[in-house]
């Protein structure tokens, strides 16, 4: 009944369209108006009319957050394998190849170091376009190494989550254990006095929400992101009730005391820098 996986892809598709569609003019899924594409791009993927936050890739996210030319990627040589020889309607190995081709990523997270307004940080960004940003062995290992690197180099740690898929089913129990692995690494980092800022973006669900994403010393979310443990469909099937409209949104989480701030994308970089200065200054 309950899972660390999520199952909301349809709702998500209905509620928020992915990415900024090609073309000069875009029909905004937030306000339904025709918006000049350049105006969205100029605002880092945010609708000028209704503040709808479009999907941005992990690479774009890094460009938005880091000072130009400062990013150095780590652990890109860690590549996913198929430990279960898993096949649903498509073998996992083929799915991996297709996702790699589609996204240009080797797996669902990019990690490394870079500067945020001249402050050096360790940073990881998950990309919801790669098997729904789900966490398998590679995502877990890259993040654990990132945390350890932040500890050794005494860097503030930033992880931006965009993971609707939670723990990746195709790697079975090995994926589930990445939750414990990264959480244990964060406990050590915390013990050593490290600062961890967790940034939640649409969507952050299941095993990702129930591990590192929730463990930030400070937790920031973009507006109207879908964030939660169980998928809305699982909950609806269990309680047989329609869910409230704002359920599992950033605003819902702020109201219930689980996140610290909601920050619009154009302000994210300066807000992160400001928090670093309070704790690391």
């Amino acid at each position: 009944m309950s899972t660390s996986e999520t199952d909301f892809s349809e709702e998500l598709a209905a509620r928020r369209k992915k990415g900024i569609p090609p073309g000069l003019w875009v029909a905004c899924p937030g306000c339904k108006k025709a918006i000049f594409r350049k105006e969205i791009d100029k605002r880092l993927g945010v609708c000028p009319e209704c503040d709808f936050h479009y999907y941005v890739s992990a690479k774009t996210r890094l460009e938005q957050l880091l000072d130009e030319g400062t990013f150095v990627e780590c652990d890109n040589n860690l590549l996913p394998v198929d430990p279960l020889t898993f096949a649903d309607q498509k073998p996992y190995v083929e799915r991996l190849k297709a996702e790699q081709k589609k996204t240009g990523l080797t797996d669902a997270v990019i990690t490394g170091t870079g500067m945020i307004r001249a402050r050096r940080v360790a940073i990881g960004v998950t990309d919801s376009a790669f098997i729904m940003g789900s966490m398998g062995s590679v995502v877990g290992e890259r993040l654990a190494r990132l945390v350890e690197r932040a500890e050794v180099q005494k860097l503030p740690l930033i992880i931006v989550s965009a993971s609707g898929g939670g723990a990746r089913m195709h790697e079975g129990i090995l994926s589930l254990m990445q939750m414990a692995k990264v959480s244990a690494a964060l406990a050590r980092f915390d013990q050593a006095g490290g600062l961890f800022i967790s940034v939640l973006t649409n969507p952050t669900m299941g095993g990702v929400a129930a591990s590192f994403a929730s463990l930030g010393d400070v937790i920031i979310a973009e507006p109207k992101a879908l964030i939660g443990f169980a998928g809305p469909r699982t909950i609806e099937a269990t309680i047989r009730m329609k869910l409230p409209n704002d359920f599992q949104t950033s605003e819902f989480l702020l109201e219930h005391g689980y996140i610290d701030r909601i920050v619009r994308r154009p302000n994210l970089k300066s807000e992160i820098a400001r928090i670093i200065d309070y704790c690391h200054g």
Partner: protein, 336 residues
Amino acid sequence: MLDYLPFEQPIADIEQQIESLKKLPEPTAESMQKLRHLRKQLADTTRQIYDNLTPWQTVQVARHKNRPHTVDYLSLVFDEFVELHGDKFFRDDRAMRVGFAKLDGRKVLVVGHQKGRNFKDRTENFFGCAHPEGYRKSMSKMRLAAKYHLPIITFIDTPGAYPGIGAEERGQAYVIAENMFEMSRLKTPIVCIVIGEGGSGGALGIGVGDRVAMLQHAYYSVISPEGCAGILWKSGEHAEKAATALKFTSKYLKEFQIVDDVIEEPLGGAHRDHHQTAARIKSYLVKSMKELTACKIDEMLANRYSKFRQMGRYLESSLADEEQTNSTAQFNGAIG
């Protein structure tokens, strides 16, 4: 009277024959002979079935309504149990039982999911699906145990953490994360045993320890077979296929180095012999406690960390190293 699972029909048939023979008013030499033969046949058939359980059959055994639950082990394994109910937050979650207990004279803290046997119990216990208050209760008592150096024992038996509006409002994701985070560094020995269903995050929320074991016919999975089938095969009816694909039985978990030990069940599964199962769990716990308490605490914590740290399978390629240099260069170029 046992409730037979569909694939246990051959066992049911033989047991029925045995019963009717036993009812004969005057046992004859011939009937005694027949009875001995049937008993041997019963053992052979049961072994034949249980040595070859499919993953889906394993799930049914793990969920068997007569399978021993946490409260059964509390009375069969421990000398006493002093339940601690308070989460000091919202309410006493009956899906999560916590309290002091004595294991072979040693003071310990026990934490376990509780499913419940009859309908009333099961409803009260949310079918073993804990809410955030259950995880909070477990963590506050585990901290207490660590403060007084009491070893911790957890029994994992849940379909998953409860999916509901209240659970989300009270931070289900946060409490599971927090439990793993703290359990990874609690300064006291922790032994976790999956006794039935190890349902994803809800299981792992009390599953970080120095030793993780599972009963032979338990399963431990990233997602329920029904949930997985619903997402990847678009229908829960394919649960049997998903059960096979997920490789979540004890044999695989040992192979993947997720569990340290598999505790063998009595012939025909734990539900056929609670006492024998409890005795095996007890001897495993006593042995593990002896080993762990002999260990220096820093060493134990280092081992606990590296045990979870090494979990996962991936390729670390030096070839990719070269590619990495290239792609990093390109990537930096793209940013700069």
